[in-house]
Amino acid sequence: MRDRHAIFAAVIVFFVVVTSPIWYARAAGTTARGPEAKLPETEKTCVMPVEYMRASHMELLLTWRDDVVRRQNRSFVSPDGKAYAKSLTGTCLRCHSNKAEFCDRCHTYAGVTPYCWDCHVAPASPKGSGT
């Protein structure tokens, strides 16, 4: 094999590239376990059960959006009977007040950039949060 040096070099480079997710994650300290979104300290229940929110919070927000803007329907009653106002800034962010430690954690991990924040004003990070 006249070209064995080039071939071996290329195989090694290929191996490095193809295994890069493993060694890069090790080096950067991130794991595949997933993002750890920081939950609010005071409130323990959300407007919907956690499983639903994890899977479909976007659907809920879109429904709320159209309900408020297009149908003037601003009140929401959760499955456990509590009344809320349909508002991203006024309801969701009242409890999940640290966008960077909650919303952004999962969004960054998943590589999503929701355009809500182009318009809706996120509250400033509370003091001492380190972000």
Partner: protein
């Protein structure tokens, strides 16, 4: 080619008639002009502005500031890109068809408060291709900034120049931000929405509340006992460009 010319023209003519006949009949079924629209059930918001009371306050801009501050309306330096929901226009610009060669001193060049008229027959709503702007049952011509594609057709259609476009990202031009109301992003059209979010809480529009002279009166046209109705009954009022059939909801006391 086996279709004869006559057959083609005849078929095309009948098809055209079939396609357009109903539309044509509907157009004739519209109410004739100069007849008032039937009184709708429920609320019908309107505003009566007294320019004389406003002028007595001199250079006061409290209403504009309240509106723009509440709704995060940016203060764009480049005038060609300005965004304004409520502003003062010289009398000749607000009422171009009332121009005379000998205008009264009290009105010549004087600023008049102008805003979206929330017309009963809004051309902007007719032309919007996505229903990002529509007329609510309570009379407000509302905007959905999530749906607007920024085509600016509504701006071409508005006979009053009431609408503004976000030519760039408005946030850098915001001195203060009200966290309780969203900003808008670049690329969407915006205008006064009659403070519908305040109305939902039972509060009057920000401009009405801010005016020290009570020059702006807001109320429900369907309520005969409302202040707007009593003003309309007792004073002579005009609307902007009434000949266009838009039937604005903003009245001006002369």
């Amino acid at each position: 080619m086996s279709v004869s010319r006559r057959l083609f023209l005849g078929t095309a003519g009948l098809s055209a008639l079939g396609l357009t006949g109903k539309t044509a009949l509907d157009a004739f079924a519209l109410q004739p002009p100069h007849e008032p629209a039937p009184a709708p059930a429920g609320t019908r918001w309107a505003m009566v502005i007294d320019p004389r009371k406003c002028l007595e306050e001199g250079d006061c801009t409290k209403c504009l500031e309240a509106c723009h501050r509440t709704h995060n309306v940016p203060a764009i330096v480049d005038q060609s890109h300005e965004v304004k929901w409520l502003w003062k226009a010289p009398f000749e610009r607000a009422f171009p068809s009332l121009q005379t060669d000998y205008p009264p001193d009290a009105l010549q060049g004087q600023p008049i408060l102008v805003l979206c008229n929330h017309c009963d027959s809004p051309p902007c709503v007719r032309v919007c291709p996505t229903q990002a702007t529509w007329k609510r049952d309570d009379g407000i011509v509302m905007m959905d900034w999530h749906r607007c594609i920024g085509c600016r057709y509504c701006m071409a259609a508005c006979p009053y120049g009431s609408r503004s476009f976000n030519w760039t990202d408005p946030r850098p031009s915001l001195a203060t931000t009200n966290p309780d109301f969203p900003t808008r992003s670049k690329g969407v059209v915006e205008k006064c929405t009659l403070c519908e979010e305040r109305l939902a809480k039972g509060e009057a529009p920000a401009c009405v509340v801010a005016c020290p002279a009570k020059a702006m009166v807001f109320g429900d046209l369907t309520d005969p006992a409302s202040e707007v109705r009593s003003l309309l009954r007792s004073r002579f009022t005009i609307r902007r460009k009434p000949e266009l059939g838009t039937r604005p909801a903003i009245y001006y006391i002369v």
